[in-house]
């Protein structure tokens, strides 16, 4: 995006394009839908006692991040550079100076700002997967606001902002968010998982996903939204958007098949959960590279991500960190695969300055830049997140009490439960009917007789 289209567009003021604007409005809505999709994807993976809390972490991130973004996040990320490509200024606080006719490239600046907002939202929501079932809700709300301001905003500026140093000085490429979204959320997820510690009973109790159809529905919504995420990052209704969309599909498909092939060989069965995870791993990996490689390159990147991530999700059991829903195994590893492989598959027919990867005769130069960008982003995200999480934990608390965790956060934090499937229970329709008609009455005796007659 961003990486490809933004600098040139900023340099040359253009006319508003209705086509580009229409597409970006739609893409913004599509990317926003990814966060509720993620809520279902994650919600199905946790135990039934904390599915609402899991969903709530995504939904609350939408609200908190949006307000921070409007207030000052956008300005610091995409406002005029303060120097060195490190951070923007406060010139556009509360969207100051942005009028309906302000343009960024060929689209209203307001649309570009909103499109960028949806990226910030899902990046924060992704982190929640690393700390499922055990996070204090108040701590999470504060974390959302502080993290987006201190970690997301700087990295977004380095990679996509005016004069951003990773793009301008280092020369690394990130089309739709391998660094900013995937590696960033993955490294942050590892940091918060380490600060909070493992769930009670981690590695001892069975913690299987409680609702796989929910996981599949969430994965489907993510897949749908990802077309807006990647093809929208072309910032126009054009050929680059089409190439990005095709590459996105190619990578998702090879990754899906790659993951379930590993499963079939390693565990004996191809699983629905593996298919969903594989597709997401491919979508993650193609995010940085979708507008920078050709279709065969996208297929290779997807396959690499599907296979590698299917092994990476096992690391937490080996090393003992409880990255509950595999933010590290899928988003960090997939993000690294996709970002680094730009150095191999970058195709000069689509790259912004004709950069070429190893396979297209570009040598090792771009590969080195990509690796450097990965290391810097991961190190900054991990370190800054670790400090933020520690401070929250020491002050207002970030980890739910053991009692609340065992009862389930749905009941303890939200006073709700997700399911009421039995006919007996405090919230069932039978017991409320009994409360409405206490004691025997002629009105009740009649249907009871009929039921008995059926049985006899």
């Amino acid at each position: 995006m961003n990486a490809a289209a933004l600098p040139t567009q900023l340099a040359a003021p253009a006319e508003l394009s209705a086509g580009d604007t229409a597409w970006l409005l739609v893409a913004t809505a599509m990317v926003l839908l990814m966060t509720p999709g993620l809520a279902l994807f994650y919600g199905g993976m946790v135990r039934a006692k904390s599915v609402l809390n899991m969903i709530m972490m995504s939904f609350s991130a939408i609200a908190v991040v949006s307000l921070v973004w409007f207030a000052f996040g956008w300005s610091l990320a995409f406002g005029d550079d303060l120097g060195g490509g490190l951070i923007g200024d406060f010139g556009q606080v509360f969207l100051h100076g942005m009028k309906p006719d302000s343009l960024t490239g060929t689209v209203p600046s307001l649309v570009f700002m909103a499109f960028q907002l949806t990226f910030a939202i899902i990046t924060v929501a992704l982190i929640s997967g690393a700390i499922a079932d055990r996070t204090k809700f108040r701590g999470w709300l504060v974390f959302c606001a502080v993290w987006v301001a201190l970690v997301y905003v700087p990295i977004a500026h380095w990679v996509w902002g005016p004069n951003g140093w990773i793009r301008e000085e280092l020369g690394a490429l990130d089309f739709a968010g391998g660094l900013v979204v995937e590696i960033n959320s993955g490294a942050a997820g590892l940091a918060v998982a380490l600060v909070l510690g493992p769930r009670l009973g981690f590695k001892r109790d069975p913690m299987r996903p409680h609702n796989l159809p929910l996981v599949m529905l969430g994965a489907g919504l993510l897949w749908f939204g990802w077309f807006g995420f990647n093809a929208g990052s072309a910032l126009g209704a054009n050929g680059l958007a089409a190439q990005s969309l095709v590459n996105t599909q190619a990578a998702a498909c090879t990754a899906l098949l790659g993951w379930i092939m590993v499963e079939r060989k390693r565990d004996g069965h191809a699983t629905t959960f593996g298919a969903a995870s594989g597709a997401v791993a491919g979508l993650v990996a193609i995010t940085p590279s979708c507008g920078l490689v050709d279709m065969p390159g996208a297929m290779a990147i997807g396959l690499a991500a599907g296979v590698l991530c299917s092994y990476a999700v096992g690391w937490k059991h080996k090393f003992g960190y409880d990255d509950s829903l595999d933010v590290v195994g899928v988003h960090f590893v997939g993000g690294v695969v996709g970002t680094v492989l730009i150095g191999v598959f970058a195709w000069d027919a689509v790259t912004p300055a004709g950069e070429r990867g190893l396979l297209h005769g570009g040598g090792l130069g771009l590969l080195g830049k990509q690796i450097a960008a990965v290391l810097v982003t991961a190190a900054f995200s991990f370190a800054a997140t670790y400090v933020i999480a520690k401070v929250i934990d020491r002050t207002i608390g970030f980890r739910a009490s053991a009692d609340d965790e065992m009862r389930g956060l749905d009941l303890a934090v939200h006073a709700e439960t997700a399911y009421d499937l039995g006919s007996v229970g405090a919230a069932s329709h039978l017991s409320s009917a009994a409360k409405a008609h206490p004691g025997p009455s002629p009105a009740r005796a009649e249907p009871a007789d009929r039921i008995d007659a059926d049985e006899d």
Partner: protein, 112 residues
Amino acid sequence: MRLITAVIKPHRLDDVKTALQTFGVQGLTVTEASGFGRQHGHTEVYRGAEYRVDLVPKIRLEVVVDDDDAADVMSIITKAAHTGKIGDGKVWSVPVETIIRVRTGERGPDAL
């Protein structure tokens, strides 16, 4: 009177129920249950992580019959629930002191 309880494989329930109805049993109660015997459990794999499921789903079936019918009913259940594979379950019986039909207040064998 005797209370006969059977813990059987869920997919055998229909055959057991039909056999008991054919025999003339007037009513029975079925509960979804979990448990283990010699079958123990099975393994499920999620994202490569193995979960041992020790308690497997079973059907618990209860029926109260006359003393004279108890042996027949037990062998009918045993025959209908039988697959020959591990995990077919158990059938047992205990004496029942009294029984009341809630609707009419009838007691003893009349309430069956």
